[in-house]
């Protein structure tokens, strides 16, 4: 496992700066909220954390690229030759991704909320946003491992993140709408950032993060399953 981790680190260090650039972009996008001010907003925390909704796209792309990119170049065959245990390979990548996203998320979210007066709800929202970004990166990794085509994988993750809320609005039955609202990962980004009137939302902030975690675990499981069952040649 340590060897797998070291191998992944070497790959990252020596590869063209793709992942680093993507992660820097994620930090920048996440921090965008700092420019929004928000003095007279009803919920300034939510306004400041709007950047998380942009940053998550870059984080997800980083996760997808980390594995699906290897299918594009054929590098995956080498990787699996070196680390034949699929679970170990994915675990090494997941660890490295988490280690990469964490400082980026802390930086982006930190800048976004820096000038707001600290409070319990603010800290809760900021901490959860950081965890959320890490989970979305891992979700991208899982989908990337399962789908293999990096473009298709990133399309699927972006659809899940951006289009589900629109889809939900079109569901006519309010009970169904509420149930799906609680079960999809897409609404968490808003729920987490809400610090005013949060009781009116269909799901609490921590359960919402739990739903995202469940989706991430599910995607990673499918990714591991695909790695095991499908030949890496095709």
């Amino acid at each position: 496992m340590t060897a797998a981790l070291r191998g992944e680190w070497v790959k990252l260090r020596t590869a063209p700066a793709g992942l680093a650039v993507t992660l820097l972009l994620a930090a920048g996008l996440t921090a965008v909220g700092a420019a929004l001010g928000g003095g007279d907003a009803i919920d300034p925390v939510q306004l400041r954390l709007l950047g998380v909704r942009l940053g998550q796209a870059a984080v997800a792309a980083a996760g997808v690229q980390l594995i699906a990119g290897e299918y594009g170049t054929g590098l995956i065959r080498m990787s699996l030759l070196a680390v034949p245990r699929r679970t170990h390979l994915l675990a090494a990548k997941a660890t490295l991704l988490t280690a990469g996203v964490l400082p980026v998320a802390v930086l982006g979210v930190g800048i976004a909320v820096l000038t707001l007066p600290p409070s319990g709800p603010l800290l809760r929202a900021a901490a959860e946003s950081i965890l959320y970004l890490i989970l979305i990166g891992l979700l991208g990794l899982g989908v990337g491992a399962a789908v293999r085509s990096s473009a298709a994988a990133v399309g699927i993750v972006l659809a899940l993140l951006y289009l589900m809320p629109i889809l939900l609005q079109m569901i006519p039955d309010p009970d169904w709408q509420r149930a799906l609202y609680r079960l999809t990962p897409a609404t968490a980004v808003q729920v987490i950032a809400t610090t005013v009137d949060a009781a009116a939302l269909p799901i609490g902030p921590w359960p919402a993060l739990g739903v995202v975690a469940a989706w991430t675990v599910f995607a990673l499981a499918i990714g591991v399953f695909t790695l095991h069952r499908r030949s890496a040649i095709r």
């Binding site: 929004l36 709007l50 690229q65 473009a151 399309g155 972006l158 629109i166 079109m170 009116a200």
Partner: protein
Amino acid sequence: MMLRAEWIKLRTVPGWLAGLVVAALLVVALGCLFASGTSMSCMAGNREVACPPPPTNAAGLGVDDKFAFTNQALDGNGSITAKVGALTSTITYPPPNHNQIVPGILPWSKAGLIVKNGTGPGADYAAVLLTGAHGVRMQSAFTHDQAAPGFASAKEAWLRLSRSGDNITGYVSADGTTWQKIDTVRLDGLPAAVRIGLFVTSPGGLTVDEKPQGGHAVAVRFTQSTAEFSQVSPASGWNDTLVGYGDYRTGWEQTHPPGHTESGGVITVSGSGDIAPLTDGVAVERILTGVFLGLLPLIVVAVLWGTAEFRHRMIATTLVAMPHPARVAGVKALVAWLASLIAGLVAVGVTLPVTTRILHANGVILLPVPWPTTVRVAVGTALLLSLAGVFAYGMGILLRRAVPAVVAVTALLVAPPILAVTSVLPPDLGAWLLRLTPAAAFAIQQSIPAYPQLSLPQTTFDGYYPLSPWAGLAVLALYAVAAVAAGTRRLRREAS
């Protein structure tokens, strides 16, 4: 020849074709999902009835046309003059406690003189009128609105409306002796016999509550307005017609019936409703919301159309077969445009008739718009998809890697409307996003334009885009051309 070769490349790769089909299917499926889940019922008093179709103006635009009309016949040319003032409104059960009926000023309550082609809702008209807080104005055709200069905050005024053939001219005066012309409007095909008279109407009292999650909640309550007309000429022969009223009367109206009373040469008229374009309802573009979802597979396919040549080094072969990078990129962009246009036309062409049928069966009446508007929304949606395909292709050959290209196109094209419409982003910032990003193109889907003479909120949250439909589409076209041009430059530089 080149076009054919590229077309075959696109057609023979199953994933790409599948992506286009999925894009079209998503648009259709979401349209059907929306249509089958939407139903409509109207109340006539406390009885639930099927919704009657709203009246339409001569162009086919759905309109509100409800007012108290104290009228008489006018045969041929002539005019009507009156001094209008004391315009007050009664608002039923407003916040904070919703337990009182209070007097108040409604900014767009209207009292004035009108000439109308009969008394049927939707019939052509021209009017000069005093409003609660927007001064004296001349309005016609339900959409035309002209303020009288110098009377922007008038609380009373002398008004005159005169007919000469098809031309109706409105005048205003502060003292009844020096008259100032406001505007002349032409009512084509107006018959000799028309109705002229005094009218009062009163749109619903609005409160707009900003929601913590972004957007706002609008509540509307019944109102009635009353105005006094004096020095009326012609002086007599007035009868009431309640244009657009049903049988139902609110509790307030049972003790304060709409219509006119006369005492000491002063005619007092009370009425409710509005004479205005109808903007509240299910607009036709709502059934095309699936375009958002369909865009993603389209973007993925179009980006791959650009990047795959580089990944498989096919570009070398292509450039050997056709050693003009600019022409190769041009032809490939054309194929991307055609393929997405076909997918878009099929998607819209299936969605509109199918969903219209489902909506009809559910008793849902779409907001009526003139048929050229419906055509513009439909064709424009297909054009939007086609330009999105070219833009994604251009970003593909510019960035050469699929993931950054897909993320960039999604962030520029799909994310801005979502941020502007369903988040706490302030509306004016959202409007700027929808001017500057390629997402401005969604304006092509907006079937109801913004009218300044309405009190309903008309922000990005409410589906109003800052740019006009074709200007918005042009923004996306510019982005698409710029992306293809930049990608071509890179190709040419690195091929030589």
